[in-house]
Symmetry: C2
Subunit: 204 residues, 2 copies
């Protein structure tokens, strides 16, 4: 298949530099391939743009830098958590709201990224200390967003803070199990198992 045909399928008009349907997905796909092949450090934005058959300018229309390719889903996850807590009926206990938040987060993650992409992303992040630090920062921001959502519902500051930390600990523990090499179980199912584990720890 010629480049022209591929470009036509992708909806890209190189001469016109028009908005291109699917460019963001193709850029993400190209970046993930290159990070896996060459490592994160050795991959440039020019490499990513070339493999996705777009200009560097198009890359920067979607991502601030190459790191953002790995972290751009962050807001979606946070929104899922926060909205689930904010929109739950009044009078529900904190534990029920944590469950609602985790289920919403799991749904978002499974829809937007999927297990294979999550595994590939994890492998890239594990190999780079700066990316690991960025990931930790993201998890801490998520915990504090959950804390704020609980405070907005009138939960006391200390409980709200603990609820945020516990929710994120549960999510990240279940997530790690979900991306294990031979794991086939659903993230939501694993989250419920992790919730039972937390209860057994704190009531032992």
């Amino acid at each position: 298949m010629s480049v022209t045909v591929i470009s036509a399928i992708a909806g890209y008009d190189r001469r016109m530099g028009r908005w291109e349907p699917g460019a963001q997905d193709r850029l993400r796909q190209a970046a993930m391939e290159l990070f896996a092949e060459r490592g994160f450090e050795a991959t440039t934005v020019a490499d990513i743009a070339a493999r996705a058959r777009v200009t560097e300018r198009t890359f920067f229309r979607y991502f601030a830098d190459k790191r953002e390719v790995l972290f751009s889903g962050e807001d979606l996850l946070q929104t899922a958590f926060v909205d689930a807590i904010a929109q739950a009926p009044e009078g529900q206990p904190v534990w029920t709201l944590i469950h609602a938040a985790l289920d919403a987060g799991a749904k978002t993650l499974q829809e937007t990224r999927g297990r294979e992409q999550a595994r590939a992303r994890e492998a890239i992040i594990s190999a780079n200390e700066a990316l690991q630090e960025r990931e930790l920062l993201k998890l801490t921001r998520l915990a504090r967003a959950v804390t704020k959502a609980f405070q907005a519902r009138g939960v006391a500051p200390t409980q709200a803070r603990l609820a945020g930390d516990v929710a994120v600990a549960m999510f990240s523990t279940a997530f790690q199990r979900w991306i294990e090499p031979d794991q086939t179980r659903d993230l939501t199912e694993l989250l419920h198992e992790v919730a039972a584990d937390v209860q057994s720890i704190t009531t032992s």
Copy 2:
């Protein structure tokens, strides 16, 4: 008082460059003062050494860089947590071991740093994003060290991971309350209150 007299009190012989009792404490004190006065970024190792009346070479005998002045207590805290878990009698439930770890950590922190120094340190770290990231990394390392200590006692990996995260969430929540401006209560007492909060969340 002349510099010579001060040096004599501090036990320092500039000509001989001998080991100097108290130099590490003086360097830490000087660094904390300068970080508070000028900010972390604007303070150099030369400034710190000058205020502590030692050479830069002496500074580097105790600390790898200026950031290490803020983080050198890290190992002590981790050792306190891990030893408490490793040395507890057999057959104790995870929750009891978490309590033992937190109490040991609180004791170490109160002995080595004290509330005023902890407050000063927190103010410096809050003002600098790179230091905040370093602090997060430290807390994550602490959580994983606790996880390993639990695994060494035969606790299943998922439970051990959650135990590490929950223990660190509890410690850092109690710590934040401990360094609040008007707080006079003991860290151990606050930890026990936080433990009750975690239980009320997970059993609500």
